[in-house]
């Protein structure tokens, strides 16, 4: 089974910063989007059990190869990175068109996407790609299994899960319920250095004359708000359980709450 995993490098969650232009600062350290890491794990398990290979497809600034290398170290065989200065500030609709065009240049049976991303959070790119490519779309998968000519998923429902089938090629969006991602082995890390990251520009996927990217964004991010701070909140972190408990007790004693 040939699987393409849509993998987005995102700012380390909690480190996101919005620039003056209303765009996310993508110069901070990047990681694999959490949900993408879960679907990558599911993809690797599928090819381990049933044969085949996993290709990564990303759209990101040119320098953002660390998360791609990590995903290659986990076991994907190659990566395609669509990168073009014109894509900075792309909206979900631009992104979906770009990834769909890139998918047209690849051979695959199944496309896996994370249910959403930790930076954008729209959760529509997978379904938009399925629509553009006329593929069946199965969302919120917690289990994915292939059968002859098709794929079956368990989809999270409000009360449990539904079981759905679709013919291949199909697009499946998954969540952390697919299971914990593996740690890349040292052999995987060293092997990943020689794996191919194919860089594609908009021209190379036939989209250079389209209205894409920040200049043509269909939506605009105006502002972001963190939850309002309540009083003088102190977060205890970076300590083990006992040390954290002692720090909390100190805090309470100091305020004569204990």
């Amino acid at each position: 089974m040939r699987i393409v995993v849509l993998m987005k490098p995102v700012p380390d969650p909690g480190e996101e910063r919005l620039g003056a232009d209303g765009r996310l600062d993508r110069s901070v350290s990047a990681v694999i989007n959490g949900n993408d890491e879960y679907v990558l794990e599911a993809a690797l398990q599928l090819v381990e059990a049933h044969g085949g290979e996993v290709t990564l497809l990303s759209m990101a600034p040119a320098g953002m190869t660390d998360p791609v290398r990590k995903a290659l170290a986990m076991g994907a065989v190659r990566a395609v990175l669509v990168t073009d200065p014109a894509l900075a500030g792309a909206c979900a609709w631009s992104t979906a068109q770009v990834l769909a065009a890139a998918l047209r240049t690849l051979e695959y049976d199944l496309v896996l996407a994370g249910a959403d991303t930790s930076d954008g959070g729209g959760g529509v790119v997978g379904s938009a790609i399925a629509t553009l490519l006329h593929h069946p779309y199965l969302s919120h998968a917690r289990k994915i299994e292939p059968f002859e000519g098709g794929v079956r998923v368990e989809r999270i429902s409000a009360v449990g899960h539904d079981v759905l089938e679709a013919t291949l090629p199909a697009v499946v969006a998954g969540t952390q319920l697919l299971g914990e991602p593996r740690y890349p082995s040292l052999r995987g890390i060293m092997g990943a250095r020689s794996k191919e990251i194919a860089i594609r520009t908009l021209a190379e996927i036939g989209l250079d004359d389209r209205p894409l990217g920040g200049a043509h964004a269909t939506t605009t991010l105006l502002d972001t708000h963190a939850p309002a701070a309540r009083g003088s909140t102190r977060v205890v972190r970076d300590l083990d359980t006992a040390a954290a408990a002692a720090a909390i007790v100190d805090f309470l004693v100091e305020r004569r709450a204990l």
């Binding site: 290398r69 060293m190 970076d238 720090a247």
Partner: protein, 388 residues
């Protein structure tokens, strides 16, 4: 693990491996460290993890299933593991130590027999040189290996053998020619621990590295084929010394890791613990402790990395570099962990916090693979020989 060593001197592969091992150490090793210490139980789960992740394969040639990593890379992994748990860092350090005689002087046939299992991490190997009366005076070994046709019969007792009770192979140094010069009396053998006559006669109760089993090994006419002898008859002592020249940086790496772990814990605690209405990190006396801890740790780390580079490039004074880094890093670990307990105050004396364990673990780095006093002898001899 907030502090990072300077990046400039490491290759991309080294950085990637260090970061991957750090992640494992943080997620999988650190949560086990206190229990490993408290129960004094060898962490078989973590040995399997190190095997699965390829970490135990680092020091071994690629043609036998290893990763063929250089000494610095092996040390980066030991350091990262030891910052969370010194016992776990020692699993890799001892695997390298036990295998070094084979890697340095083994025949292709011996490597093909023994290394694949070691590189995969399915076999552990111990290094058995020390005896009750042959510690710093390693040449005083009394265990005998008597030739009998195409075999040797090994008899004697080895003491303080790390992993002695969990290894499937032991590299044993035994007297083959009692009348020879001190430096030609010993030979080295690979002994399979399933051999009749081999037994674990005692397990030590230790102050630190409590999860790492330290065994007394009894050899009662253990029959070993000549094919298991590493190098020629009489090569043993020289081989042991060449092994230690290359293995001591692993102990220095363990020491640097322990120091970094203690520093990170102390810095985090100083930011959280409040006295007199502010965090104790705002007091300059505490800042002074933390700054000295950082300076000592970083200085030891940079010396270690330089030593690894010098040894790897075949420096003629490899023994000096190896002794220098173990000496400085072992002392740094002891001082830094002691200060970490100080930063924690009374709480640091409790086993509710990791720093008292780190302080106990640090002490061994001043003792094994040559005491700090022996390191000084090695260094001074190298200096005097150079000027002679």
């Amino acid at each position: 693990m907030t502090a990072a060593p300077a990046l400039g001197r490491l290759t991309d592969d080294q950085r990637a491996i260090r970061d991957a091992v750090r992640t494992l150490a943080r997620d999988r090793v650190a949560p086990r460290a206190a229990e490993i210490d408290r129960t004094a139980t060898f962490p078989e789960d973590l040995r399997l993890l190190l095997a699965e992740q390829g970490i135990l394969g680092l020091p071994f040639p690629e043609r036998f299933g290893g990763l063929g990593a250089d000494l610095l890379t092996v040390c980066l992994a030991i350091e990262a593991l030891s910052s969370a748990c010194a016992t776990t860092g020692l699993i890799l350090a001892v695997q390298e130590l036990g295998a070094l005689p084979l890697l340095l002087a083994g025949t292709e046939e011996q490597l093909a027999r023994f290394v694949p299992g070691l590189a995969a991490g399915s076999d552990l190997i111990a290094f058995a040189l020390t005896e009750a009366d042959a510690g710093s005076d390693a040449a005083a070994v009394r265990t005998r290996a008597v030739r009998d046709g195409e075999t040797y019969l090994i008899s004697g007792t080895k003491r303080f053998i790390s992993h002695g009770s969990v290894a499937s192979l032991v590299t044993v140094f035994a007297v083959t020619d009692p009348d020879a010069d001190r430096r030609r009396r010993l030979s080295a053998f690979v002994v399979e621990t399933t051999s009749p006559g081999f037994s674990v006669s005692r397990l030590e109760h230790k102050m630190g590295i409590r999860g790492s089993p330290t065994a007394e090994l009894a050899f009662d006419d253990v029959r070993v084929p000549v094919a298991n002898r590493i190098g020629a008859d009489g090569d043993g002592f020289g081989l042991a010394m060449r092994t230690l020249d290359r293995s001591r940086p692993g102990i220095a790496a363990q020491a640097v890791g322990i120091a970094q772990g203690a520093l990170d814990a102390a810095a985090a605690y100083a930011g959280q613990r409040r006295q007199f209405g502010k965090s104790i990190g705002e007091f300059q006396l505490v800042q002074g402790l933390l700054a000295d801890m950082d300076a000592r740790t970083e200085a030891a780390r940079q010396l270690l990395y330089t030593a690894c580079e010098e040894i790897e490039r075949g420096a003629p004074d490899a023994g000096r570099w190896s002794a220098l880094c173990k000496l400085v890093a072992g002392d740094a670990a002891m001082a830094v962990t002691t200060d970490a307990v100080q930063v924690f105050g009374g709480y640091g004396y409790l086993d509710d916090f990791p720093v008292e364990r780190m302080m106990r673990d640090a002490k061994i780095t001043q003792l094994y693979e040559g005491t700090q006093q022996i390191q000084r002898l090695v260094i001074a001899r190298a200096l005097l020989a150079r000027d002679a």
